[in-house]
Amino acid sequence: MKKSLALIAAVAALALPMSAQAHRAWLAPTATVLSGADAWVGFDAGMSNGVFIPDHAAMNLAGLVITAPDGSTAQAENMMRSRYRSTFDLHLTQPGTWKVANVSSGVTATYKLDGEEKRWRGQVAEFPGAIPAGATDVVATRTSNRIETFVTLGAPTDSVFTNPADGLALIPITHPNDLAAGEAATFKLSIDGAAASDVEVTIARGGTRYRDNPDEMTVTTGADGAFTVAWPEPGMYWLNATVRTPAEGATIAASAQYVAVMEVLP
């Protein structure tokens, strides 16, 4: 029993961009503030304990969606999956702010059939139909993961910021490509389109290999979903929030996760 649970956790960690006990997932740009007629930005995506340190697993980028300032969808170029990180390039061909997001959602379920423990993962629409008749001990969770970052050519724009109906999302008050050390920035979190209040947000700065203190910060969203971060110093930052909702009546449990990577300049 114990062994099978551990196995499930391991399988889940491999299959999903993020899962409950997984390493930290990060999608990190090589630059966030750019000038010129056009520009190229590279991205590294991985999962590891130390943010931006590729030493555990490459991220599955099946859910990669890149949104250009004009709302169109752009394609990643030079995609490669190496041992510990996935990498790709993005050609910024129009001025403004671009959103690069790896989004996944679905249902994970465990159940027993004929005394055997089974596991199922699929789309929301397929559940519960995909669970065989006669299954018992069905435990299902609706998952929603959004791992994103933003890059800007020229002046920042707001067109890519949306309030999606599904899962956790960030609604910037301060533009994520307009961050400077010594200043404070405010963002709002939404869950399923509504303000995500009283949610803990973890903020970790990259470069932990070169210092002894992890220097992590935790802030909590207010009633309107807003939280404020005072950036102590320049660097690439990882922001993470998780909201777990237990099953209630006919509604299955839900687990929503959000990750953003933001660069703070001197």
């Binding site: 503030v33 000038s35 010129g36 520009a39 002046a155 307009d178 300049l265």
Partner: protein
């Protein structure tokens, strides 16, 4: 000439207020650096209010001749880029020009170009960013609306910076 200038000032004073005929001269010293791979710095000169909001960019020295890539490094003048550069279209007449060699350079802005600037306290900001080098910002508080001079000095990428408001 002087009489004409005064007359213009009086006329402007009755309409918009202050200091129409005053000119601003900004002297910027680019230090000579003994480094193996010297590249002339990108330099931006702009006026800010005391609360650090930008009023206007007066000069941007960058690799104008490199049409394909010259603007790629404008962002390295980080402070200027954030406070106003990123919203500008370059090249801009009377603002952008080629990078300058080490030495003293003067940016002269005729009062007519600043006729919409209300009298008051401002800061002249000069920022330099150099390829394979550092970045430095020098801030010189000055007053617009009366003749005055002010100066400050950089310590790495910029030398003496002085501002003279004449009328």
């Amino acid at each position: 000439m002087r009489k004409l200038t005064l007359a213009a000032t009086a006329l402007a004073g009755s309409v918009a207020g202050p200091a129409l005929a005053a000119d601003i001269n900004v002297s910027v010293e680019i230090p000579r650096l003994s480094v193996a791979a010297y590249h002339r710095p990108y330099v931006a000169v702009w006026i800010e209010r005391p609360d650090s909001t930008a009023v206007r960019t007066l000069a941007v020295w960058y690799e104008v001749s490199n049409v394909a890539e010259g603007k790629d490094w404008l962002k390295d003048m980080r402070t200027w880029w954030r406070r106003g550069g990123r919203s500008m279209t370059l090249p801009a007449d009377g603002v952008s020009s080629a990078t300058k060699a080490p030495g003293r350079h003067t940016v002269s802005i005729p009062g007519a170009r600043l006729s919409s600037l209300p009298a008051g306290d401002y800061v002249m900001v000069v920022e330099a960013a150099r390829e394979l080098g550092g970045r430095e910002t020098v801030r010189v508080p000055f007053r617009w609306g009366a003749a005055n001079t002010a100066r400050a000095s950089g310590s790495s990428e910029l030398g003496a910076v002085s501002v003279a408001v004449t009328r």
